[in-house]
């Protein structure tokens, strides 16, 4: 496989948009391994969508956006939102939970695949915006976090 840097970037964007978390490829001449949708440093495309609130019809969201230290976590997939890994287990986070980068906040299930959504920042959960088991769309706000 011979790809230019531009083609590689497009490949990663496409894979990430499709919900792929990790990608690895190797042949005699070339090897690439990348974690997608996580650390902000490697994935430029995803970060702006998550850190800035969408142009949303809800005035409450706009009022909250005034506090620049509070950022929204938005869903990168269409699917079903779950607060815990399984029904009888404790939620990943609650309002007031302190979170670190890489910590799992919730699951968005799509087509029987459980996608863990991880925090990109260190901070405290201010709000949980979706009820357990409800459907979410791309870009929908799931949590707000006050940056540490």
């Amino acid at each position: 496989m011979q790809l230019t840097l531009e083609e590689l970037k497009n490949l990663f964007k496409t894979l990430e948009a499709g919900g792929v978390a990790e990608f690895e490829y190797q042949d005699e001449k070339f090897r690439v391994k990348v974690g997608l949708g996580r650390a902000a440093a490697t994935v430029v495309a995803a970060v702006p969508a998550r850190s800035s609130p969408l142009a949303s019809p809800a005035p409450a969201a706009a009022a909250r956006a005034v506090d620049e230290n509070v950022v929204a976590v938005t869903s990168p997939f269409v699917g079903t939102f779950y607060r815990a890994p399984s029904p009888d287990v404790a939620n990943y986070v609650e309002v007031g939970s302190v979170v670190r980068p890489g910590q799992t906040l919730c699951i968005v299930e799509a087509m029987k695949l459980m996608n863990e959504i991880e925090s990109e920042l260190a901070g405290t959960i201010v709000d949980v915006l979706v009820e357990n088991g409800k459907s979410v769309e791309y870009g929908q706000k799931l949590f707000t976090i006050r940056k540490a």
């Binding site: 497009n10 948009a17 919900g19 997939f77 269409v78 799509a110 087509m111 459907s135 769309e137 791309y138």
Partner: protein, 449 residues
């Protein structure tokens, strides 16, 4: 019948499908990118799901997101519209595999007719006329030999897709190698498939296409033809039904061969077979589009058949109840103009906010539109804003009615090709029916000289 259909598309065709679903009592789900959050189809549908950022690959072409949206809304069928995933056999297979209805042909039949070379072979087998042409070209030497055998001038074309990409006209032996190499690269880039074939090139053809409809009970109808000769860069601008140059005999014989070919290959749903016509009125099969077409309304106006409703019925397994169309009769004449968001001189696409919007109306005027006053036309998608369709008892009256309709159409805030359409309607070649696929290009060249 389906209870809920998800429309995997946007713009005017999404509205079109929603309208058909409404008339059938089917609930609708719109999917949209973030750029289309305020779009008309989102507001018309019963439910809407945002499936991704503006880029098509991450939204309207994002198969997992579309399937997930069907899952969370409990849709039981997907209509792919035109463009995007409508001719993706892979998408059709995935939809079928998820036990959702796909409103289109079966994936294996779509694959057969969507492959240009296999489609040619199938057409030949069932007696459809073809241009002299080749198989897949192995290399430049093979291309040279085939071009000489077929006879110059020839057109090199991509096996994997159309839209003008991977196409080269070759007028003599000296040009073959360079054309082969550049067309191969372009085809690889556009379709991930470098394969080419070649056909005799017709200098100034008319573009004539036949509408077909088939159900899952072995019934196949042909619903007459459309002529779409006024094109720019292989993009149709104006379409009409019927064609001024088709005789009843030709219509009947081509129709018979088409029905036979589709029945034998198990084709169901809507489909359009595209032909070129040369100056001697010979028709040559080009390719088949295995989906609803942009210009389907002109056929609807002259036949009275709601093509999208019938397409949905066929997909749901119903036995369609259309009249026998073999004793062919058109009702009047219909013309469609595609209104695009583009600069009238440079043809540069012109996204932006529509400030005023007043579509034409009155007797015999239909507007299929995806936009409204205040809508922000996004830059990421094609430039089609709306289609103006007129229907009148005669072709002359239809031309006059289109002129009136174009004069009424107000779209402020962005640039459109409405003025170009007025010029095209007034062209002598359009009035007397002698237009070809080179007419618009020659008009533009005259304008520049």
């Amino acid at each position: 019948m389906f209870k809920k259909v998800l429309i995997a598309n946007r713009g005017e065709i999404a509205i079109r499908v929603i309208r058909a679903c409404r008339e059938l009592g089917i609930a609708t789900v719109a999917v949209h990118s973030e750029a289309d959050a305020g779009a008309l189809h989102v507001r018309f549908a019963d439910e809407a799901v945002c499936i991704g950022p503006p880029q098509p690959l991450a939204s309207y072409l994002n198969i997992p997101a579309i399937i997930s949206a069907a899952e969370i809304t409990a849709a039981d069928a997907i209509h792919p519209g035109y463009g995007f995933l409508s001719e993706s056999a892979e998408f059709a297979r995935i939809v079928e595999g998820c036990r959702l209805g796909f409103i289109g042909p079966r994936s294996d039949v779509m694959q057969l007719w969507g492959d240009k070379i296999r489609a040619r072979e199938t057409a030949r087998k069932y007696g459809l006329p073809l241009l002299p042409g080749s198989e897949a070209l192995r290399d430049a030497e093979h291309a040279e030999a085939e071009a000489a055998r077929v006879g110059y001038p020839v057109m090199m074309k991509a096996r994997g897709g159309g839209g003008g990409r991977g196409m080269r006209i070759v007028r003599g032996e000296g040009e073959v190698r360079r054309a082969f190499e550049s067309a191969t690269a372009e085809a690889m880039n556009a379709f991930k498939n470098p394969e080419l074939y070649l056909e005799r090139f017709v200098e100034k053809p008319k573009h004539v296409e036949f509408q077909a409809l088939a159900d899952t009970h072995g019934q196949v109808w042909t619903l007459g033809e459309r002529e779409c000769s006024l094109q720019r860069r292989n993009q149709k601008l104006i379409e009409e039904a019927p064609s001024t140059v088709l005789t009843d005999e030709l219509r009947a014989s081509i129709g018979e061969s088409i029905r036979h070919a589709l029945a034998e290959t198990g084709y169901t749903s809507l489909g359009t077979l595209e032909f070129l016509m040369d100056a001697q009125s010979n028709l040559y099969f080009m390719e088949m589009n295995t989906r609803v077409q942009v210009e389907h309304p002109v056929t609807e106006m002259v036949t009275g058949v709601d093509l999208v409703v019938e397409q949905i019925r066929a997909a749901a397994g119903e036995k369609l109840e259309l009249a026998d169309t073999r004793p062919w009769r058109f009702r009047g004449h219909a013309i469609e103009c595609r209104i695009l968001a583009e600069d009238p001189v440079t043809f540069a696409p012109w996204p932006g906010r529509i400030t005023d919007y007043y579509p034409p109306g009155g007797i015999g005027v239909r507007v299929d539109s995806g936009v409204y006053g205040g809508f922000q036309v996004p830059s990421e998608y094609d430039s089609l804003l709306a289609k103006v369709i007129v229907h009148a008892p005669t072709r002359a009256q239809a031309l006059g009615r289109m002129r009136r309709a174009l004069d009424e159409f107000i779209i402020g805030g962005i640039r459109t090709n409405i003025d170009l359409h007025k010029r095209l309607i007034d062209l002598p070649e359009m009035r007397n029916g002698t237009m070809t696929t080179r007419t618009v290009e020659l008009l533009m060249a005259r304008g520049r000289s």
